[in-house]
Every structure is written in structure tokens, then in C-alpha cells.
Symmetry: C2
């Protein structure tokens, strides 16, 4: 062993996906994909590398994220490049780039990996995979209702019941009007209140009021703002539309603000009703001006993002992860009795595979008993030993590792048997 | 339009995947995945971010790539981090990290995106997706035969015939022995000859000899090396094993060297027989000492990588891309006659989706005729208009956009009709 051996750890804050974790990730991604396509959404993707300026445009993003949390560096050609921290600027860039050729309304989804330099903690990693769904070119309330009903359907498709989660809805334009009613019209002040209110559930009521006082300047205004954001009931057209579709676990929450400055109308979150897992597991909103940073008339958009880490936490806390997910084992394990039989075994495997049977050959340097035990442990259903005795006699034994039964015959007989079974 | 509007171009040398290109990428990835799983390979993944030291270890990689072509930067915590340029060091790290819990031989595959800072050109981008297959813990020739037969099967599964490609095999250990026979035993000299020979097909014969002379020092040795690398025929146990499996488009090529220093035994490439597309579209080899950089006894490995760009070039040049790949359109398009019917349409769509029918609602602000034309253009098979007349009468018309036929009835009637059709 060398003294200066390398660590086998992954880079800090990111994950290795060993096959059992990869199987869970694929299950989550496949479910996301199936639900999106059932609504007629088409999949797109882009590189993790984006020009840094994409995130620096006024109104494009959250300044805290850009200044403190992006992975931004200078490439060998002196370009400033960022590992995408979110997908919305990318999709806005792509839609703007082909606005003349695309047919609207456009429904697009993607499953990108996103990067943020943060202190790793539960549900927060430096890289995660995020399901993104967006509708472009449909400014009416029907699009808001559809995108939220898609998010709802997604959780239903994972096996969730409506008691397990709650949909919170708010509206930036409505908030602006409510603030205007109490004399707060300066956009910077509204933005500061919005960002503070977004953190309201994470800080104490006193701290919220103290911070608010710094922004609005007097206690009367503080109480008026608190009066607006702490309203307990209420509806808006989106909530009425969702109820029309039979979605009732939805309510207005004036504290919902979302982190991004580009939202203009409806904003929403889905919360796990399990208080142990109290982070928003999904969030999104309407952004009607984002594409204007690329020039031309703005194309309205509404969308949401949902991460794989919070998704898995939700599925695990509600015991919704199917137990058979990791069973990706092949059907048949062909076991050479001795290394001399390895090639003959590969040839037989080729025959079984050509009939659609997933087949592995144990070419390891282990004893026969160990190979059979490993095949059983791996979840493979059948094992077929190939040694000199079998080759000379032409008679082979197919073992059912689940039932501990056997079937004897020529390779052709056993192939016919297995084709019938699978 | 703002004067300082942002460009809609992607970062230089990477790609945006609009839905039609994404559909092709998904087809390629799904085929890779299906073939690998038919051989009993399990999927894994890791982050694109790796500690930079992973690629700097002696013998871990090709120095040219590390020094001149990686994306390496310092993160906000002063760690040196690299966007992975290849997957083999990552999989070696993961296997080493769990060597005590894993059952060998291990068959793993992944489809990572890889990054290299190179001048973009045909078949060479700064980011591409690469299929990686590796077998660990099987040092015998049977593993070499299996991994190459998997690569062969992959092309067959894409619809290729053996005349479309050629498998070239060589062996680093055999080359070392041949060089020793002519008195070249210094490992640095062998490495220099190997790297030069790897470029032999890209440079002139004179240039090759001139460069070789600089390495070996005299013309007699130059001719001896040329005598070794230009041998026209020959076999080795791997080639014999592949022929045993019926794979005959395989030959020994002593100029095959592969770029990575970590290869120790068998090395191989697959070339397109179409001379217009003469880059290796797949390459790999055996690396028996790579895991030793993490300490402990080395675990033998053999594997290959195959990129999506060269794969697509191959499929296109041989006309193997299925023509129906881009048809991811939903089955049914529900078309509100007026925006007032949007919500009622969403409700009907929800009903159809709950019966497994992929359904989209055109909530765009277009005229009815335009909406029907867009539905037909999108490849949707059926259209259902919902307006006041239909809602009042309770009778709706389902239009088959392919055949231009119609079916009338209540929503329930039409649902039953469509369930029977799909």
C-alpha cells in the first residue's frame, strides 16, 4: 500500500450512485418522465456549462445565489462559465433562440443536474437532479391550473394520497397590489419584503418584525405588512380552478414568496404534511418577462422544479418506495465449473441473450459452490452450470434458485423451457 | 428591445438538446442500456465534479489531457476540482471504496457526460455523453472476449451489420515483449513509442519515422519498430475467442495503442468501415493496476467507452436511425373553442389521462382552426373540440387527424372508444 494513496471519497457534497441508489434515482426519473409525457410535455436538455452572464442579468435570478453560491470559473479561453444552479434561465434561452420556429403553447420538461456551493445538509447537496416542467406562451389562468395539477398528479403517480402533502399558492402581482394599498410602492422595498417573508417560517416572529422594521421604517407599516402576510384564508382564480379539478389540498398562503426575482404572478409550493420533513419539496411560479433579457417581446412562462433528494425523502418518510426497485438482476446466471469452461459458457450465454433472456456469466476465479451462492444472492432466478461432464454428456441442469427445483436436458431444451417461463 | 440583450447561444462547444435531438439521444441511451443489461451489467453514476488529484496520479491518465484539456478550477472552499474528462478513474474509485462489500466479478455500466477543453470539430465537442462498460475482478481472457462481444452486440442491436464496422485488437503486454525482443526495455521509451504509434494513422509515414528516430536514437531500431507495428496479420487468444463466438470482423492491429497510460493488456477499437467517418467510434482495454492508486491489492478491470456524437454519426452515415424517433406526441389534443372553455377542457383531459391516454390541452390564444392545424402538425392522432355548443348539447366530436374521420358522442362514449383504440 502506497503512503500517498488517493482517497476513494467523492468530492464534498456530491453523491456516488452505486447500483442500489442508481436504481432508486432511475425509478424517480422514470416516474417524473411518465407523468410529464401523460400531459403532453416533451423532453429537452442542455449542457451543465452556461455563460456566467446568463445568471447576472437584472431580474434573472436571486442575487444571493449568483454572488455566493454558484460554481463560476474562467475557462482556458478566458470565458466566464457557470455550472447551472437552476434550469429556468437555460430553458428561457433555448425558447427565445427558436421562438420563430416553435409552436406555442410549448410544454417542455427536463431532468438536469444543478449545482450550488452550499454547506451540505439534509436535503441540500452541492449537486442534485431536478425535474423541471414549463409551459410557454399560455398567459392565462388555465396554464397555472395545469402546471399545479401536473405537480399534484406527480405525487399521486408516486402513490401519495392527498393527506400527505399540501399545495400552497400565492401571487406576486396580488402581493404588489396589497402592498400598494398600504402605501408601499417602491419595487426595491417590495423585493426586500418578499425575500424576508420567504424566510418567515425559518425565523422567529420577533426576528421577522425586527427585520421588517428595518425595511419599512415604522411599526404601523410593520403591522400592516404582517396583517397581509398572515391572512389565514382566501382564494384566487388558480385555487378555484384546482378545486374544480377535484384538487382540494390547496390553500392560499401569503408568506409564500419563492427565491427568484423573476416571478411575476402565481407562485406555489408543495409541502410534506409530515412535519419532520418540512422543506418545500416542489416550488415554482409564473415568469412573464424572463425571456425579454434575450430581446424581442417577452414570452410568458410558468413552471416548477422538484429535486431528487427531497423527492426521495418524501417517498421514504411515507414508505412509498417500492421494495423491488433494486431487483435489476439478470434472469439467468451461467456458471463455468472451471475457468477452462469460460469461453464455452460465453457461447451459451450468447444463444440465450439472442432469445431475449438477460444472461450473465460468472467468469470469476471462485469455487463452484461460491459462484452458485453469489448467483442466488444477486437475485438471479436461474443458474446453469457448464463443466466437462455436461459438455461431454450434452445434458445440462437448469436450477431455479428461488424454488430450489431443477430441469435437465440439452441446451436447446432448456432454452425452450426458459423462453416459455419468461 | 434592449441594447445589451443576452445571446441565446449555448456555451461554446456544447449542445442544446431541443426535443427532436433529445429524442435521438434518448434512443441511443436506451439502446446502450438495454444491451448492457442483457449481459447482466448494472447501472451506476457519479457527479461530474471530481477532486482534481484523481487525474494527476502517475499512470492514471494521459498527461496531455490532464495538462491541456481538463476543466479544472478552485472552488469557494479552496479545493481543486475537475469536471470529469473520462469515467474510468471514477469507477475505479467507487469500486475501490467498496471493495469489501462488492461481489466480483462486477459488471457495471454508466452513461456520464464528459468534458474536455478542445477545439470543437466533427465528432469532438467539449461535452459529450459516453456509454461506459467495465468488468472488475475477472483477469482472464473470457472477460476480454465478453466486453468486446458486448461492444459488437451493441452495434448489432442498433441495426448494424458486420460489414459496417471492424474490431481492431492489440495487447500492451505483447507489445512490451516485442519491444524487449529488439532491446527496448525502458518503460518511458515504450510509453513514448506507444503514444506516437497511437497517432500513426493521422500523420505521414515519414513523420512517423522522424519522430520515432528522436525516441529510439538510430535507424535500425526505427525499422525494427516499424516491422513490429506494421504486421498485417496475426491473432491472439482474444481474437480466437471472439471468432469462437462467431464474430469474424476482428483483426490484430499493432498500431492500436489507445491514449491512456493505465492500460496493461488487451486494447481494442471499433472503426466504421465507411472511410468518411474514420475516427474510432469505440475504444477500451484492460487496466490491471488502476485501483492500486487507492491502496490495497489491485483489482483487475477491463472496459470501453463509446460517445454519443460518434454513435450518431455512425447511425446517420449508415441510415440506421429509425425514422419515427421524434414522434413523442400525445395521443389526444383537447382544443378549447374559446379561452372560457380552458378549464372545462383541463377537466376532460384529466379524465382521459386517468385512463392512461396521453392528453394535451391547447390553451393557447389562437383561433380554433389554427389550434386544429397545430395539433395535426405536432403528430397528435386525435383532436376533441370543447366549446359552448358541445357543453350544452353534451355531444362531442372526436376527430382522427391521420384518417380525417370523426366519431360523435358523450365524453364517456368517446373515452370508451379511445381506450379500445389505444
Amino acid at each position: 500500500m502506497s503512503d500517498n494513496k488517493l482517497s476513494t471519497d467523492a468530492y464534498k457534497g456530491v453523491r456516488d450512485f452505486y447500483p442500489e441508489d442508481m436504481a432508486v434515482l432511475r425509478y424517480i426519473m422514470n416516474t417524473w418522465s411518465t407523468t410529464a409525457e401523460s400531459f403532453g410535455f416533451e423532453r429537452y436538455d442542455a449542457s451543465v456549462l452556461e455563460p456566467a452572464e446568463l445568471y447576472k442579468s437584472k431580474g434573472a435570478a436571486n442575487e444571493e445565489i449568483v454572488d455566493e453560491q454558484t460554481y463560476t470559473f474562467i475557462d482556458r479561453g478566458e470565458r466566464e462559465v457557470t455550472l447551472r444552479p437552476e434550469m429556468t434561465p437555460t430553458v428561457a434561452r433555448m425558447v427565445s433562440g427558436r421562438r420563430r420556429e416553435l409552436t406555442f403553447p410549448l410544454r417542455w420538461y427536463s431532468i438536469p443536474n444543478l449545482f450550488r456551493y452550499e454547506r451540505p445538509q439534509r436535503g441540500r447537496l452541492r449537486e442534485h437532479w431536478q425535474f423541471n416542467c414549463d409551459i410557454f406562451g399560455a398567459p392565462g389562468v388555465a396554464a397555472d391550473v395545469e402546471i399545479i395539477s401536473l405537480a399534484n398528479q406527480l405525487l399521486i403517480d408516486f402513490g401519495a394520497t392527498p393527506d400527505m402533502f399540501e399545495i400552497l399558492v400565492n401571487n406576486r402581482a396580488e402581493m404588489t397590489a396589497l402592498f400598494a394599498d398600504i402605501g408601499i410602492t417602491n419595487q426595491d422595498t417590495v423585493t426586500k419584503i418578499t425575500r424576508l417573508t420567504d424566510r418567515k417560517k425559518k425565523i422567529s416572529a420577533d426576528e421577522y418584525r425586527a427585520e421588517l422594521l428595518k425595511i419599512v421604517g415604522d411599526n404601523t407599516k410593520v403591522e400592516q405588512v404582517v396583517g397581509i402576510v398572515e391572512v389565514e384564508a382566501g382564494t384566487n382564480p388558480v385555487i378555484l380552478g384546482l378545486r374544480e379539478l377535484g384538487i382540494t389540498n390547496v390553500r392560499l398562503d401569503r408568506t409564500i414568496a419563492r427565491g427568484f426575482d423573476y416571478y411575476t404572478g402565481t407562485i406555489f409550493e408543495i409541502l410534506d404534511t409530515d412535519k419532520e420533513n418540512n422543506r418545500a419539496m416542489l416550488g415554482g411560479g409564473r415568469y412573464d418577462n424572463l425571456t425579454s433579457m434575450f430581446g424581442g417581446d417577452p414570452i410568458s412562462g410558468i413552471g416548477f422544479g422538484m429535486g431528487d433528494v427531497t423527492m426521495r425523502d418524501f417517498l421514504e418518510s411515507h414508505q412509498l418506495l417500492p421494495t423491488n426497485i433494486t431487483k435489476t438482476a439478470p434472469t439467468l446466471s451461467i456458471i463455468p465449473a472451471e475457468p477452462e469452461n469460460d469461453l464455452a459458457s460465453q457461447k451459451v450465454a450468447q444463444l440465450f441473450r439472442s432469445h431475449g433472456i438477460r444472461t450473465v456469466v460468472d467468469i470469476g476465479q471462485k469455487k463452484l459452490g461460491r459462484k452458485i451462492a453469489d448467483a442466488a444472492d444477486s437475485g438471479t432466478k436461474y443458474a446453469l452450470v457448464i463443466g466437462e461432464t455436461e459438455i461431454e454428456s450434452g445434458t445440462y441442469v437448469l436450477k431455479n434458485l428461488d424454488l430450489n427445483t431443477t430441469e435437465s436436458g440439452s441446451i436447446e431444451n432448456l432454452l425452450t423451457f426458459l423462453i416459455a417461463k419468461t
